[in-house]
Every structure is written in structure tokens, then in C-alpha cells.
């Protein structure tokens, strides 16, 4: 249901379904099998395994922690009370980075999709530039930002000189830097869905708005923005969801510090460093549940069903 937000045309499949003969129905089922198999093996099974792990009990009688399958719901209460700040930070950073990405991407997508329509070559070039960063590793690019904003960089010293930063303040390790990195890394995921929606925006609606006494600003608010909601919804989902689970940008190795660690960083350290599997699993389940809930509410609230 929430995933319908990602697709533009898939909506009213019920209406457009052509009558299929029995034979082709079997073929369709056969074609579906690999997909269903994939989902069962790589999604449903791990999901149950994850939930089961999150409820395990710890046995230290042997002097070494051993985990047994159980039904210890208190694991969840423990992680929420212990890692509340990280959980909050995850969603707060994700929200800020998504908003920042939207503000940056919208004018860009509008320019490529609407203003540049007359020059397909420019359009293609700009779209290529939007996805060009993907040609370089995500980790390298994030690390490059760490270098650019490092304590010795002229940017930081410049900011210190004009008084935007005090002499003992730096950028790397701050929430600003983490949100900056998240925004930067996920902008293409916002721009592309916005572009596909805006590219199809019928400018005659904008002319109708102007004809009906709406100033350019009003026309944007009342016509352009509502008509681009499908793109905004898919773009924000495609950025918000991965950002909420991201652990690279906020990590101390890259742009963050212990003060900026997000849910993903806790999961990473519990799984890979201290081997506290139930804790890590419970956090993962919480992240997943929270995202599912937020996304459902968001899609319902934005009421874009009929525009998708």
C-alpha cells in the first residue's frame, strides 16, 4: 500500500485489467514464482528470524553470553529507555535532511522538467549531472566532505574569522555536518521522482491559474504544488526511509561523532562489535515499525491516492 507511492502508473490496475484466458493466467503465475520465491527467502524468512532474535534471552551462566530463543518483550523496553536519544535523532535528522533535500531539489527538478523542456539536450545533460555522483563511491564522497570541512580547512578557518564559528568550534562531528552529509547523499533520490512528475506538468494549468487572477506565487501554491504531490511523496519517502537507517554519515569515522550517533550506528556496533544480537534486532524492528507507521500516516494524510 505504502509502496504504491513509488509508482506512477500502477494505480488502477483493476480497471484496466484485460480479460485473460486461463492459459495465460498460468503463465503469469509461473512468471511470478521467482519473485515470490525471492521475497519468501530474502524478505519474509529474515524478517521472522529478526523478530525471533529480538525476543531472545541472555544466559551468562557459562561465564560467556549465550542467547536462547525466548519471548523476552522487555528487550524492547530496555532498548527504548537506553537508546531513546539515538532513536529520536534518527528520525529528527532524517526529517531535517529530507526537508533540506526537498528545498534544494524542487527548484532544480522544476528547472529541468519544466523550464528546460524546449532544450532536450540541456535536460539530458542536467539529469546526467544529477546522477553523476553515483559514479563515485558513496563512502569516498562522504569522506571527501570530511576533508573539505576538516578542522584545518580554509572553510572552517574562514567561518571562524567571520565569526560564524567561535575559534574552538569545528564542523566535523556536529549535527549540522551529519545533516549536511545526509542531504547531499540523498538529493538524487529526491530530484529524480520530482523530475518525473514535473516533467509531465501541463503548463496550461498554470496559464489557467494566471487567467483566473492568481499571481505567480498563488498559482504555484494552488496549482503547481498540489499537482506535483506524487513526486514530493515518492521523493520524500525515497530519502526519509534510507536516511532514518543510515549509519555512514553519522559515524565518527565520517562526518559524525558519538554525540550524533543514530539508530543505525547503535545497530552496527551491537551487531558487529559487542555481539548483542537481541538488542540490535529489537532496535531494527523498532526502526522498521516506526518507518512503516510514519509512511502509512504520511501517504494517507497527503491524500495523493487519486493523483498517483
Amino acid at each position: 500500500m505504502a509502496f504504491a507511492a513509488f509508482s506512477h502508473g500502477g494505480g488502477g490496475s483493476k480497471k484496466s485489467a484485460a480479460p485473460v484466458s486461463k492459459g495465460s493466467g498460468k503463465v503469469a503465475l509461473l512468471l511470478l514464482l521467482p519473485g515470490l520465491f525471492y521475497l519468501a527467502v530474502f524478505f519474509i524468512a529474515p524478517l521472522f528470524s529478526l523478530i525471533a532474535t529480538s525476543l531472545q534471552t541472555m544466559d551468562i551462566s557459562s561465564g560467556f553470553p549465550i542467547y536462547n530463543y525466548g519471548f523476552q518483550v522487555s528487550n524492547y523496553i530496555d532498548v527504548v529507555s537506553q537508546y531513546g536519544p539515538q532513536i529520536f535523532r534518527s528520525f529528527f535528522y532524517a526529517l531535517l535532511a529530507t526537508i533540506a533535500a526537498l528545498i534544494i531539489s524542487y527548484p532544480l527538478a522544476y528547472f529541468i522538467g519544466v523550464k528546460a523542456r524546449r532544450w532536450p539536450l540541456l535536460q539530458g545533460l542536467m539529469l546526467t549531472l544529477v546522477i553523476a555522483p553515483f559514479f563515485i563511491s558513496f563512502l569516498l564522497r562522504t569522506f571527501a566532505w570530511k576533508q573539505i570541512f576538516s578542522n584545518e580547512s580554509w572553510i572552517v578557518s574562514g567561518l571562524q574569522q567571520i565569526g560564524l564559528l567561535s575559534p574552538d568550534q569545528y564542523l566535523v562531528g556536529t549535527p549540522f555536518m551529519v545533516i549536511f552529509g545526509l542531504t547531499y547523499n540523498f538529493i538524487p533520490f529526491m530530484t529524480l521522482p520530482l523530475y518525473t512528475t514535473l516533467e509531465r506538468l501541463d503548463v496550461r494549468y498554470l496559464e489557467a491559474g494566471a487567467d483566473l487572477y492568481a499571481s505567480p506565487r498563488k498559482t504555484f501554491m494552488k496549482v503547481t504544488l498540489p499537482l506535483s504531490m506524487p513526486g514530493i511523496v515518492s521523493g520524500t519517502l525515497l530519502t526519509f526511509i534510507p536516511i532514518a537507517g543510515d549509519y555512514v554519515n553519522a559515524s565518527g569515522l565520517f562526518l559524525g561523532s558519538t554525540e550524533t550517533s543514530m539508530l543505525g550506528n547503535v545497530v552496527e556496533s551491537k551487531f558487529l562489535k559487542s555481539y548483542e544480537y537481541p538488542t540490535a534486532s529489537a532496535l531494527s524492528v523498532i526502526l522498521m515499525g516506526a518507518i512503516l507507521l510514519l509512511v502509512t500516516l504520511y501517504v494517507r494524510k497527503s491524500g495523493t491516492d487519486d493523483l498517483l
Binding site: 489557467a208 487567467d211 487572477y213 492568481a214
Partner: protein
């Protein structure tokens, strides 16, 4: 947004309008005055500049040169949303994310008019769609969408209502019905209507004044009756109905008429119905004003007579038969004969003479180029 909105129509004046697009000129020095309260039609083929003219008036495009005055006020440099003008777009351009009622109330809300919803509902009732107010535009038929577009424009009581081929997408029956309704609404609200169309029947049916546009210029302007009865150019005579045209040099002239020689036949036209009185000119007659005779008739000086020729095609169209007659050395002539029960010869190959009253002929200011279109019959003789 300090535009004053008037309840009655205002007049529109275009002074020396010129519009150039990269690579071509859409409008060349257009001067036009449309009196307040008139139903004015701009008629022309696609690409003649009529829609561009409309967009300039609406403020959606800027003229390269010239002035636009609405109600005496220069609006040339004001934006579209500041002009007391509303448009019924060819594509309707109804906002898909709003209900029909919200669409109609949009303009009122922008101008902060009291009680927009009640007024919008009243406007929808006027076009008999009050019961569909809460639907989305996509749920309506083409004809219903067209009426919503009309209601959305009319509710604002603009000084000037622009109609951009709004009936083009409708089927014939619905188009007829909407033509009648549009005309009735215009008479009722008393607004100035500027209607752009390529459909000559629609223009003649609805408009008080028709301007025929061609290649960025107005060829002729006047009441539909006058334009039809007395076209001044080949283009107008072809575009507005059908015409038989004959080209020849003026050989006789008296106080009231001139005669041309077309391959030995004398064709006379009254002087006051001819644009040119000397040299090589084109004289025309409408197919329904021409008659044919099985035997050479004895007619007085008040008639033109050509023939004999052979009937080479007969088309039955219900109310009339259309005969195509080939006259040696003159060319093909079309004659419409009403099916009123005493139909003349209807056999292919019959030999006939064609006649019409001198007072029905008209003389044109230009000569036809030898590229006859399929709906028009031309007879051109090389002399």
C-alpha cells in the same frame, strides 16, 4: 491586484499589434476594435495567428509591438492575472486536483469576493451542472467539462470573455447545443465575447461580427451575412462557404456594371459589388445562387449564362443535391439544388447550361492561385 472589475462588458482595442516568434511572424500589424457587449469571432485556418491574438489579449504572451486596450485602459504591460479577462481554453485546463465547484470558485477566491462557493454553485446551475459540483473534472464527459470551463470563466463576470475553440472537441450534436447555449448566455450576461474558431459555420451562427484571419492579417471583417454575400478576397470566398470563381479581363463597362470575358462567355458583375473595375479580375458566385437548365434558356440582361457543360458528379446531401458541371474551356462549376420535390435533371452526363443573377455575382480584389482545394470549385481560363 488593484484591477477594477466591471459588471458589463468592455470594448477591446488592438493597435498595430505585431507578434514575432523565433523564425516567423505570427501577427503582422493587427488593428481591431471590438465594441462592448459584442459577440466577435476571429475565424481562420490553423496557424493564421488567431490563437496568438487571443493569448496576447489574455496576457499569456507579450506582443512584440503595439498596444492592447480593454475598456480604454492600456493593459499591454500588465500580467495575465491583472487583466479583467477570462479564457475558456481549448483544452479546458480544468484543475484536476480540485472538485468542479472548487474549479469554478478559484477566480472568485483569488479576488477575495464574498461567498465564492454560493456564487460558484449558481454559475454551475446556469450551465445545468449544479448536481455535479462535487465531482472531479476527470469524472465528467467532454461536453460537461466544456460547460464547467465556461462556468469557471463566466462566474468572474469578466469585461471580456475569450473563447479558444472551446467547442472543437465536442461531437456535432453537442456542439450545436452548446452554440445555442453560449449565444443565449452571452445575450443574458451582456459580456463582450471574443471567440476564436476555424469552424466557419460556428462563427457565422454565433457572432455579431466575424473577422476572417489569414497569415497573421485580417482579410475582411463584417457581419456574417455581409461576409458571405460579398467576400472581398479569394481566401474569404473560399473559407466562408464555397464559391465558383471565374477569371477574365474587364471588357465592357457601363454606369452600374462591368463585364469580363471568360473563354468567350460574358460574365457581368455590378460595380458596387466589385473590388476592382479594370484589368484581369476574379468574379464569383455561390453554388446555391446558380441554376442549371437542360435547354439554353432565354434570359434577360440581369443574368449571367455559361455553357453548355456536362454533369460529371452528383452528391446527395439530404437537403440539397450538389452538382459538379464541367464546362469546356471554363472549368468545373458547382451548383446546389434544393430537394424541394421538383428536382431538375439528375443524370450524370446530361448537357446543361448554368445561370445566375448578375446581382448575386461578386468581384474580388485578388486572383486565385492555381491550387484549387477539394472543397472549392474554381474555374480559371488561360487567356
Amino acid at each position: 491586484m488593484a484591477t477594477e472589475f466591471v459588471a458589463r462588458g468592455a470594448d477591446l482595442e488592438l493597435k498595430g499589434i505585431r507578434k514575432e516568434f523565433p523564425g516567423f511572424t505570427a501577427i503582422e500589424d493587427l488593428d481591431l476594435h471590438i465594441p462592448a457587449g459584442e459577440f466577435f469571432a476571429l475565424l481562420g485556418p490553423s496557424g493564421c495567428g488567431k490563437t496568438t491574438t487571443l493569448r496576447l489579449v489574455a496576457g499569456l504572451d507579450q506582443p512584440t509591438k503595439g498596444q492592447i486596450l480593454i475598456g480604454g485602459k492600456d493593459v499591454t504591460h500588465t500580467k495575465a492575472h491583472e487583466r479583467p479577462v477570462n479564457t475558456v481554453f481549448q483544452s479546458y485546463a480544468l484543475f484536476p486536483h480540485m472538485s468542479v465547484l472548487e474549479n469554478v470558485a478559484f477566480g472568485l477566491k483569488q479576488r477575495k469576493i464574498d461567498d465564492p462557493m454560493t456564487k460558484a454553485q449558481a454559475s454551475l446551475d446556469l450551465v445545468e451542472l449544479g448536481h455535479l459540483a462535487l465531482r472531479r473534472p476527470a469524472q465528467l464527459s467532454g461536453g460537461q467539462q466544456q460547460r464547467v470551463a465556461l462556468a469557471r470563466a463566466l462566474v468572474n463576470r469578466p469585461s471580456l470573455l475569450l473563447l479558444d475553440e472551446p467547442l472543437g472537441a465536442l461531437d456535432l450534436k453537442l456542439r450545436r447545443q452548446m452554440q445555442i447555449e453560449l449565444k443565449a448566455i452571452q445575450m443574458e450576461v451582456g459580456l463582450t465575447f471574443l471567440h476564436v474558431t476555424h469552424d466557419q459555420e460556428e462563427a457565422m451562427d454565433m457572432a455579431d461580427t466575424v473577422a476572417v484571419m489569414n497569415k497573421g492579417r485580417i482579410e475582411q471583417m463584417g457581419s456574417p451575412e455581409k461576409l458571405y454575400d460579398r467576400p472581398k478576397t479569394v481566401f474569404v470566398s473560399k473559407f466562408l462557404g464555397q464559391s465558383n470563381l471565374f477569371v477574365g479581363s474587364v471588357e465592357e463597362e457601363n454606369a452600374s456594371s462591368i463585364s469580363i470575358n471568360v473563354a468567350g462567355s460574358k460574365i457581368t458583375v455590378p460595380k458596387d459589388r466589385a473590388e476592382k473595375h479594370k484589368g484581369k479580375i476574379a468574379v464569383g458566385v455561390r453554388p446555391e445562387k446558380a441554376f442549371f437548365h437542360e435547354e439554353k434558356p432565354k434570359l434577360g440582361a440581369g443574368h449571367n449564362l455559361i455553357g453548355p457543360g456536362e454533369i460529371i458528379d452528383i452528391r446527395f446531401t439530404g437537403v440539397s443535391n450538389q452538382y459538379l458541371i464541367e464546362i469546356p474551356k471554363i472549368g468545373n462549376v458547382t451548383v446546389f439544388a434544393q430537394n424541394i420535390g421538383k428536382s431538375p435533371v439528375t443524370e450524370l452526363g446530361a448537357q446543361v447550361w448554368v445561370s445566375w443573377k448578375v446581382e448575386h455575382a461578386f468581384g474580388l480584389s485578388d486572383l486565385p492561385t492555381n491550387t484549387g482545394s477539394e472543397t472549392i470549385t474554381e474555374s480559371i481560363t488561360v487567356q
